[in-house]
Symmetry: C2
Subunit: 99 residues, 2 copies
């Protein structure tokens, strides 16, 4: 089991975060994670895109500090870093997700 690198809360960059959220597929991933509130495996998203494109989108989200990913067996589990993002950019996820 290993957790893959993502920026700390204090290192979150608004340009990276907005860039990551500017894509509708990535917003749908973030929205599902926000709804579920816990870990969701990569295969748990209803995405009609290739595996490599899916991997790319998850990497953009992780590099921006929006999600954490950890490997467990042959699965990759995703969590929304909601507290970090909310602390750094209050109201942003709420506005983007239309909550």
């Amino acid at each position: 089991m290993s957790t893959q690198a993502h920026p700390n809360a204090t290192e979150l960059d608004l340009s990276d975060v907005l860039q990551a959220l500017s894509d509708p597929v990535r917003r749908s991933i973030v929205a599902k994670l926000a709804r579920e509130g816990g870990e969701v495996p990569c295969g748990g998203f209803d995405l009609t895109i290739s595996k490599s494109t899916r991997t790319y989108h998850f990497r953009i989200l992780r590099d921006a500090g929006l999600i954490a990913q950890r490997e467990e067996g042959n699965r990759k589990l995703n969590t929304l870093l909601r507290d970090d993002v909310d602390a750094r950019f209050p109201g942003l996820l709420q506005a983007v997700l239309g909550e």
Copy 2:
């Protein structure tokens, strides 16, 4: 005097808006327009970039529906379409601008 085309409030696309706001130069333009609250000529922004790059950034903001531009003599005047953006995506500009 002419006003250049920008999307109507109902046509605003979240992906386009977030993409436009993901650039720090464009955010600085939006932040100044938000502070001033009225029309600001293109030359009124303290931007250390070439005229063509500046024109490009203003076009991205206009195409996303964040600003309106109108020509008056040899000046181009910019206005933040705050009401439209706030109505369509409540809290977004506030969160992005850290207000």
